[in-house]
């Protein structure tokens, strides 16, 4: 696996290496959402460069970005964003629909992903028949079903009570433990606590970049682009 290198947001240089658990914090308007959009290939920087797995994706068009999102990025949203008329299984299969998996494999992969988030017995439930925590688990299953390098979670606990939120964070931590890069956007300290590295933004600038919890992760701020990699 190559390194994931970011140059973004007002004279900002950040390297995030594969397998990290990063929290992006800051008040609204601080640039954390834009940062997440660029990291998730939903947006491209107007100047500068974003290298994902060693590939410069900052000049790609809409459709090329969409194709990269299919394979490399999974999104988890505050409001879950599940399709109301579709079962948990169908919701999780959605990304596979666009990556062109055959029907049988779609079903298998979605079942495995639902199993991984502990919802094997809820496959045929509609979102309305699920609790908030369960809905977010379905969303997480959808994010990981294509086995992407990065999971981007935008306020994943914002719509949940603290106990359920804790469970969701534990699940994300577990995914990170299995090697997935997790990038979390939040404004809650308690939630950011799960990450091992916290980036704090204010007014479009990165103001702090702190490691927390277990050490050993490489961190560089305002440094030249080539960061250390885990290979």
């Amino acid at each position: 696996m190559g390194s994931q290198v970011v140059h973004a947001l007002k004279e900002l240089t950040v390297d995030i290496t594969h397998g990290e658990f990063v929290a992006i914090m800051g008040p609204s308007g601080s640039g954390k959402s834009t940062c997440m959009h660029v990291l998730g290939c939903l947006d491209t920087p107007t100047s500068g460069e974003y290298q994902l797995d060693g590939e410069d994706v900052s000049r790609l068009g809409r459709d090329d970005l969409a194709r990269i999102r299919r394979h490399k990025v999974g999104f988890v949203f505050q409001a879950f964003n599940l399709m109301a008329g579709a079962t948990a299984q169908a919701n999780v299969e959605l990304p596979l629909l666009y990556s062109g998996e055959p029907r049988v494999e779609r079903a298998e992969k979605a079942a495995r992903a639902l199993d991984a988030v502990g919802l094997a017995d809820r496959r045929h439930h509609l979102p309305t028949q699920l609790s908030g925590g369960e809905m977010q688990r379905v969303a997480i299953a959808r994010a990981i079903v294509n086995d992407p390098g990065i999971v981007l979670a935008d306020e994943p606990t914002g719509a949940l009570d603290s106990v359920t939120g804790g469970e969701i964070m534990a699940l994300l931590d577990d995914l990170n433990g299995r090697g997935m890069t997790v990038i979390l956007v939040t404004h809650e300290r308690d939630v950011a606590r799960y990450a091992r590295r916290v980036l704090t933004f204010r007014d479009g600038r990165l103001i702090t970049d702190e490691a927390q919890g277990r050490a050993g992760d490489a961190v560089t701020v305002n440094a030249p682009e080539s960061g250390p990699s885990l290979e």
């Binding site: 959009h37 998730g40 939903l42 947006d43 809409r62 459709d63 969409a66 194709r67 999102r69 299919r70 394979h71 999104f75 949203f77 964003n81 399709m83 109301a84 008329g85 579709a86 169908a90 959605l94 990304p95 629909l97 666009y98 990556s99 062109g100 959808r142 294509n146």
Partner: protein
């Protein structure tokens, strides 16, 4: 995203809002059903007139006896008998535009064979008449000149007479009695079927004109040299008008009618009249089908309207689909597929309703209606086209959404 995935996905989202889907399809249903029914009724009317023309025989004019006027009281057709067998012969001889001029008389009577009997029309004619009216002999043969001259008691009968009097038998050589006079059946005409207003062309008996005049009751006025009418066949459709003029010329001369005096006969060009009617009915049904087509377009606008609402409502869903990797083309295809699915469902139901309505019209109002699979295919194709056309703009709008904005949409 494969084509079948696209359709499944479209079906899923259509199912999620059944009432709206049903109401949207309604416009297409009505449009397609109306087109199918109008085309069916139009074709039926055309066929009816075609059949009527065929029943008449091609390029046929009828010359009838004129009207008597006595003290200002007009006597109706045939009240003044003036046409003769010699007139017919003269027309055939002198008029270049005319192939056949065949004199006829007519009577009605009871026809009996064994235990069966049947009331029918008996025509006194010659072989020329059968040729003029496009009657062909199915079994047996036509009259020969000897029989026509000698007032032979031979008959050519229609299919219906065979069914009524001689079912399951070979009619040729059988003896039937017409008003107690025995006739030998020498031929059976090929069926012409029923005219659309219910007259059975095949319920008919032909005997030689000489036989009818000498042995049967054809009416006091038609004894001797006079005949009921003369059936004229022009050499071609183009010559019908010329034929009509030539008939007038010959008859006025033979009947010594001075210029300015009224004719003592009528010439009827029924085919021309029927064709004019066919033309006006065709125009009418085209107009109706055009109106129905317009309602199909209105239905398409309904689809567009609902699709635009749907794109706005589902903005977040579109954003999500893009976030998980849908390209603009994927979104475009999905929404076009939805619009086409709506219009095809509407088209299918409309075809069924249109056929049902046509059959109901045929059954209840007695209109002849012709439904063809071709019009169903055309209507479905047009419905699909409407779906693509009116679904494309909303789909394009959806495909151009910015995923970030779309995901934020409330």
């Amino acid at each position: 995203m494969t084509f079948s995935d696209c359709l499944l996905s479209a079906a899923a989202s259509l199912r999620s809002n059944k009432l709206r889907t049903a109401l949207t399809t309604l416009g297409i249903i009505i449009g397609v059903a109306a087109v199918i029914a109008m085309v069916g009724v139009g074709k039926g009317a055309e066929r009816r007139i075609d059949e009527a023309i065929q029943g008449l025989g091609e390029n046929v004019l009828f010359v009838r006896n004129g009207t008597s006027v006595s003290g200002g009281v007009r006597g109706g057709s045939n009240s003044k008998v003036s046409l003769t067998k010699a007139d017919a012969a003269a027309i055939e001889r002198q008029a270049s535009a005319i192939a056949i001029a065949a004199p006829t008389v007519r009577t009605t009577g009871q026809v009996v064979s064994g235990n069966s009997n049947w009331f029918t029309t008996v025509y006194g004619v010659g072989d020329a008449y059968l040729r003029a009216r496009d009657w062909t002999i199915g079994e047996g043969r036509t009259f020969n000149p000897q029989e026509e001259r000698a007032a032979a008691k031979v008959a050519i009968i229609g299919e219906t007479i065979v069914e009524q009097l001689l079912p399951g038998q070979n009619p040729i050589g059988n003896i039937i009695r017409i008003e107690r006079i025995p006739f030998r059946v020498i031929g059976v005409t090929r069926p012409k079927g029923e005219s659309s207003w219910g007259r059975d062309h095949d319920d008919v008996v032909f005997v030689p004109i000489s036989t009818a005049k000498s042995r049967m009751n054809v009416g006091e006025r038609f004894r001797g040299r006079f005949v009921r009418d003369i059936t004229v066949k022009a050499r071609s459709a183009d010559l019908l008008d010329a034929a009509e003029e030539q008939v007038m010329e010959v008859l006025r001369q033979r009947h010594r009618i001075r210029p300015g005096q009224p004719d003592d006969f009528y010439v009827r060009n029924i085919a021309q009249y029927l064709e004019a009617r066919a033309k006006s009915e065709r125009t009418m049904s085209m107009l109706l089908a055009a109106v129905a087509g317009i309602s199909l377009i209105v239905g398409g606008i309904g689809i567009m309207n609902i699709m635009l609402v749907s794109v706005t409502e589902r903005t977040r869903e579109i954003g999500l689909r893009m976030a998980v990797g849908a390209t603009g083309r994927d979104i475009l295809l999905q929404f076009v597929a939805e619009a086409v699915a709506v219009s095809l469902i509407g088209g299918l139901v409309g075809v069924i309703l249109g056929f049902g309505g046509s059959l109901a019209a045929a059954g209840i109002a007695g209109w002849p209606v012709i439904t063809s699979p071709f019009s169903a295919v055309v209507a479905m194709g047009f419905a699909a086209l409407v779906g693509v056309f009116f679904g494309y703009y909303p789909a394009l709008k959806a495909s151009r959404l910015d995923p970030i904005e779309a995901l934020r949409h409330e």
